[in-house]
Amino acid sequence: MNATTPLLQVENLSIELPAGLDRKYAVENLSYTLNAGEILCVVGESGSGKSMTANAIMGLLPSYLKPSSGRILLKGRDLLAMSEAELARERGRTVSMIFQEPLSALNPLMTVGDQIAEVMLVHGEGDAASREQRVLELLDYVGLPDPASLRHSYPFRLSGGQRQRVMIAMALALEPAMLIADEPTTALDVTTQAQILDLIRRIQRAKGMGVLFITHDFGVVADIADKVVVMEKGLVVEQGTADEVLNRPKHPYTRRLIAAVPHPDENATRADADGDVLLEVRGLRKTYRSGGGLFTRPRIVKAVDDVSFTLRRGETLGVVGESGSGKSTLGRCILKLTDVDGGQILYRGKDIVPLSQAAFRPLRRHLQMVFQDPFASLNPRQTIGRILTDGPVANGMPLAEAEKKARELLSLVGLDPSAYDRYPHEFSGGQRQRVGIARALALDPELLVADESVSALDVSVQAQVLDLLQDLQKKLNIAVIFITHDLRVAAEVCDKIAVMYRGAIVEFGPPGEVFNAPRHAYTQQLIAAIPGRHWNPRAAVA
């Protein structure tokens, strides 16, 4: 390759959207350059068009979207002018791609070894024996244990991180010059994410590949990017080297995004909450049994294992853990959405574990929950007004009064009063989450359990919702249990943090202590894995 020709050059690319949508172009006048041996991060919020260019490069655009102008030059040749057959030759050989959800990107009915070999087979590479040899090499190269037997596994047997490694092995099978990674770590736990990012960087360095890395997470950008492109609503608002964009952002949108990145203020000290003890959990246990027939032994998972803590009025407790750590189960136990196998949950000194659902119902109004998925947590067939009044009405409030209260709540959470008569699908994710918060507050609770309540939201919306939650908590003096996988978010909003690992709390303390002097090995690992730890977004926009 000519040293002066960049690996990939996108020039004035515009992709038109079908008529009748809120904007004319999916991406407009997009230009950037990727050189061999570079990692270029494309950052943006959902709907910014960041994945669109990757799909255009791979020729994966849906049939109703056509690039209307511009060129995509791969090693100097325009991909948009190529025939489908030529494009098929380039895919996998020169450019390959890894996706966000490795489980849906892998064929569930084919062993992983066969899937990697297939990539070489369709490109007519080698014979069966040499392909087999290469499969084992690749599996070993991406750091998977025992390639010889893992080669015969089906995707469902592997963990999320292992599946992503298989995807990467597939992408590397033909030694492409360029790798496109579309949110490859978004579906993974933070420690796995750190390993995969490490792997991508290591491979990129070793092979001198160019990597186009698409992400929404500025922490990840800070970890791996050489160059950054920031996109908003289909337009590039800023591009430059990682150092320029991250530490000296110029465009107001970039500054806003960076300011919204959660970052623990490690030196902040909070006044200890001195309210009355509201909730005391003692030795809580919950075990899940699955499978197990007449002759097979059931699989037993200790989801919550001897968990104890106390929570005072006005206090925020962050429960942090990776998927499967039992953090959500703990929240569900406290709200009696699931049965408990042992221990006590004392609400105002009264044990609620032995209460029947009917006996507990009158107490429910004091313990409320904000759910994770703003799209699934609102009944699509009810108006916002109905959603907000249902709770108070079920607790005996006359409808007229509940209506008045619902309208007040809408303004409290920053929604327009006209929202009252509209349906959930008319609102964005952040607005729906506000409705979810209003629903929980409609009953004047004393305790709010927020289960991953901001993790489905874009970072700027996430910051707004977090602000709202903190504001309301101060105003109403409620206790909050904030369940999250994101240590950064927890550190920003919580008074105390409990780190959960395999059902048990392994570390408990104020955020400063947990961050600066983690005692448990797992907490140390978790903190080391936080993306962008060495970068201080606060200083960048100060």
Binding site: L335, L337, R361, P362, R364, R365, L367, Q368, M369, F371, Q372, D373, A376, S377, L378, N379, P380, R381, Q382, D390, G391, A394, N395, G436, R439, A440, A442, L443
Partner: protein
């Protein structure tokens, strides 16, 4: 309304709706079009069709007007089809909802009960029930309902089972709504589309079952029905084809129309299929 526009995209569904409208009109207008009883002999027996303009479809063995019989038969078919389906849907939704929502032992018991009904061939059971309770329109309707609710129960159970774990249902539990209220106001409205689609197809099956029962002589003796007309005509199949062909066509067209409507509803209501032709 967008729902109607989606429905109207399916030409077959529109044709089905048009045919059904004609059948309903004929059923409602039967006493005006044919003021006398359909059992009354009005002309010479075995008059072939298209000969006498007063009796376009001919007459049967006893000189009864075939066209009048078909008009009155439409009333019986539609009445039994709709009422038996309504009863079956009520039973099926109740059992399916309880099983799906409460799960565990309740689910096991209700589903074993449902399977008990499913293992017996539906038509044989309907014959037995009608024979026991002497054939009249009430017993026929109930018998058809009793044999056709199990699929509804299974469908509703499945819908409730998956909707029960959705976050908005959990949210309703957390705000303190009671079980029956959650089932009625949160889950059922979200499960209604597949129920309507199934019900529309069950109406067609019920009409067929009623016709089959009447054909076997287990119809209501006081009501003219399409199945009875075919049953009575079977001995004359070669001599007078029109006695069985016209009621047969009536059944075919009505059932076809209802099936087309059911499919149209399915396409319009099922979000997974939305836009698959676009």
């Amino acid at each position: 309304m967008s729902f109607f526009r989606r429905y109207a995209q399916n030409i077959g569904a529109l044709i089905g709706l048009a045919i059904l409208a004609v059948v309903v009109f004929v059923a409602l207008a039967a006493p005006i079009l044919y003021p006398g009883s359909p059992w009354q002999g009005v002309a010479e027996p075995l008059l072939p069709p298209f000969e006498d303009p007063a009796y376009p479809l001919g007459t049967d063995l006893l000189g009864r007007d075939i066209a009048a019989g078909i008009a009155y038969g439409a009333r019986v078919s539609l009445l039994i089809g709709i009422i038996s389906t309504a009863v079956a849907v009520v039973i099926g939704v109740a059992i399916g909802a309880l099983a799906g929502f409460y799960g565990g032992r309740v689910d096991d018991m209700l589903m074993r009960f449902t399977e008990f009904f499913q293992t017996i061939p539906a038509f044989a059971m309907a014959v037995v029930l009608v024979a026991i309770f002497s054939p009249n329109i009430t017993s026929i309707t109930l018998a058809i309902a009793v044999v056709s609710w199990p699929p509804v129960a299974r469908l509703v159970r499945g819908e409730f089972l998956s909707l029960r774990s959705r976050e908005f249902v959990q949210a309703a539990v957390v705000v303190g709504q009671t079980g029956p209220r959650i089932m009625a106001t949160q889950i059922l409205p979200n499960a209604i589309s597949p129920i309507i689609v199934t019900a529309s197809l069950m109406v067609a099956t019920a009409i067929l079952t009623e016709s089959s029962l009447s054909f076997l002589g287990l119809g209501d003796r006081n009501m003219m029905s399409w199945g009875f007309m075919i049953g009575a005509a079977r001995t004359m199949l070669r001599e007078a084809w029109w006695l069985s062909v016209f009621p047969g066509l009536a059944i075919l067209i009505t059932v076809l129309a209802i099936n087309l409507i059911g499919e149209g509803l399915n396409d319009a209501m099922n979000p997974h299929l939305r836009g698959r032709k676009g």
